[in-house]
């Protein structure tokens, strides 16, 4: 099957600090890839490069066949304008560590903003789908609440519904449970496991080894800006080959 996300030799640096040193990764439709790794390993940066929130200096990232941040004119690769990049991102959903719901909008308005405003879906249809999504994340009764009136876990579930509302081809999760109180982590992970079962293509950066074990099709372990090891969760998590993976996982046992 044709990969929906293809990353080749991705390099990224902030000034002199080399954060990504040649990442290669293919994600096929329906696959759930969990990226693990210590802080500073570059895993969040790589995720943000996929939808071009961060620019890469070398290599290439293709999402659904399009090179993110660039277009081909004739035989030359030309950098896209900010609005051109925005258009490319429309098939990608993203969930942030700090939820980033729009605080001045109700839950329902948050969810229909992109479908109605950007994808030009009829409002009635967008509202109906938003309600269905809210039911799926277990917040059917919250559509008129403002984000501030919700707990962190509820806010993150709304954020997931908001990302799903644009019917994304791939969903990016950037440490979705790291800003949550421990007792709220479970409800968000349960929602994500549901989505994984339903065949959504997901790339998840997380510290939740349990989620990786239960929901991932593939676990990618990053350290020092490179992919150190990857494979099925039962292999990488149970029987890691690389010493850095071993020492990282040792802390969770």
């Amino acid at each position: 099957m044709e990969a929906i996300v293809q990353a080749r030799n991705v390099h990224k640096a902030y000034d002199d600090l080399q954060v990504l040193k040649g990442i290669d990764l293919d994600v096929t439709p329906g696959e759930v890839v969990v990226i693990l790794g210590p802080s500073g390993s570059g895993k969040s940066t790589f995720l943000r490069c996929i939808n071009h929130l961060e620019e890469i200096q070398k290599g290439a990232i293709l999402v659904d066949g399009q090179q993110m941040g660039y277009e081909i004119r004739g035989d030359r690769l030309v950098k896209l304008s900010a609005n051109g990049v925005a258009r490319q991102r429309r098939g990608i959903g993203m969930v942030f560590q700090s939820f980033n719901l729009y605080p001045h909008m109700t839950v329902l308005q948050n969810i229909i903003e992109a479908p109605v405003g950007i994808h030009k879906e009829p409002k009635a249809q967008a509202v109906a789908y938003a309600r269905e999504l809210l039911k799926r994340v277990g917040l059917a009764d919250k559509e008129n609440s403002y984000p501030r009136q919700l707990s962190g876990g509820q806010q993150q579930r709304v954020a997931i519904a908001r990302a799903l509302a644009v019917r994304p081809k791939v969903m990016l999760f950037d440490e979705p449970t790291s800003a949550l109180d421990p007792e709220l982590v479970g409800e968000v992970l349960a929602t994500m496991k549901d989505l994984a079962r339903q065949g959504l293509t997901m790339i998840v950066v997380t510290h939740e080894i349990g989620f990786a074990r239960e929901a991932a099709d593939r676990v990618v372990f990053m350290d020092g800006g490179v992919i150190v090891e990857q494979g099925k969760p039962e292999d990488v998590l149970v029987n890691p080959q690389h010493p850095r993976t071993q020492s990282f996982l040792a802390r969770f046992i």
Binding site: A86, R89, N100, Y102, G117, I118, Y146
Partner: protein, 302 residues
């Protein structure tokens, strides 16, 4: 001695526990005395003013709704509205330019704010009014190149256009800084989220950033609007017949200087009071997402 074990130790000092619901509120003697004293002084002051013939209350009453005064009031209000609307629009553009990644836009916006905030409004008004001495004709053309058409400056720059230009361009410099402060107060993650969802920059600004910035833009803008009401009185120096100019032209005939100035003062106070109330409404509107518990949490919610 055997006593029933106390379940909770009493706080240091060890007294008995008495329910705060049964507490007495002491009678606020000092507060009431101060209120009475202040009201007494205020009443006395009002009495003195009301009975002082120099205030000319009958004159104030006579001229309060004088057609000339009302026309001047209308001019002042019109200038305030036009100056403020234009000033806000130009200010928004300048603020966005100043925050853009484009170095040229940043420099132009910086120069604009530097000049219009750095010189007195009165001087700017007089300059606009006397444009014709600097540039006798205004024309559109290429830089250093041919001109496509021109106008006599004196026919373009009337007292009205000079007043509108002066007030709006000056206001824009202040509004630019207020709007920029408001835009900066919005979490960067909001604009990033909007762009991650594929919003263009303009749409993100309109739908996501500006509505959130409004909460910190409205209070200082209310302040600016009130300043603007009073700043319109400066246009009387360029022969624009605003409220102040109207009362001045009346007291130049009648010599009732203080009563006529009081007419203007009372009108200014009425307008600014109305604006204060309006500002309160707008602030509540933009703070609506902040009110907690507007949606009642159903019982049993986990």
């Amino acid at each position: 001695m055997s006593e029933a074990p106390r379940q909770t130790p009493s706080p240091s000092g060890g007294g008995e526990f008495r329910d705060v619901a049964s507490a007495h509120v002491p009678f606020p003697v000092t507060k009431l005395v101060l209120w009475a004293l202040v009201l007494l002084i205020a009443a006395d002051f009002a009495w003195i003013c009301a009975n002082n013939p120099n205030f000319g209350w009958p004159v104030i009453g006579e001229y309060f709704f004088n057609p000339e005064v009302i026309r001047g009031l209308g001019t002042s209000l019109g200038l305030t509205v036009v100056g403020m609307v234009l000033g806000t629009i130009i200010g928004l553009i300048v603020a966005v330019m100043k925050m853009s990644d484009n170095r040229l836009a940043q420099v132009l916006a910086g120069l604009y704010v530097w000049f219009f905030r750095g010189t007195p409004l009165l001087v700017q008004l007089i300059f606009w009014y006397n444009m014709s001495t600097l540039f006798p004709t205004l024309s559109i053309g290429l830089p250093f190149g041919p001109s496509f058409g021109g106008w006599d400056t004196n026919s373009v720059i009337t007292p009205l256009t000079a007043a509108v230009l002066g007030l709006a361009l000056n206001e824009a410099a202040y509004m630019a800084e207020i709007i920029r402060g408001g835009l900066l107060s919005v979490d960067r993650g909001q604009a990033e989220t909007a762009s991650a969802f594929g919003m263009t920059r303009g749409r993100a600004l309109r739908r996501i950033v500006i509505p959130q910035a409004m909460r910190s833009i409205v209070p200082p803008t209310g302040n600016q609007l009130i300043s603007m009401v009073k700043a319109t009185s400066l246009v009387s120096v360029i022969a624009m017949s605003d409220l102040l100019y109207a009362v001045q032209s009346i007291y130049n005939r009648t010599f009732e200087i203080v009563p006529m100035l009081l007419v203007a003062v009372i009108w200014y106070l009425i307008i600014t009071s109305i604006l204060n109330v309006g500002q309160g409404w707008i602030e509540r509107y933009y703070g609506r997402s902040d009110r907690r518990n507007r949606v009642v949490q159903p019982a049993g919610e986990v």
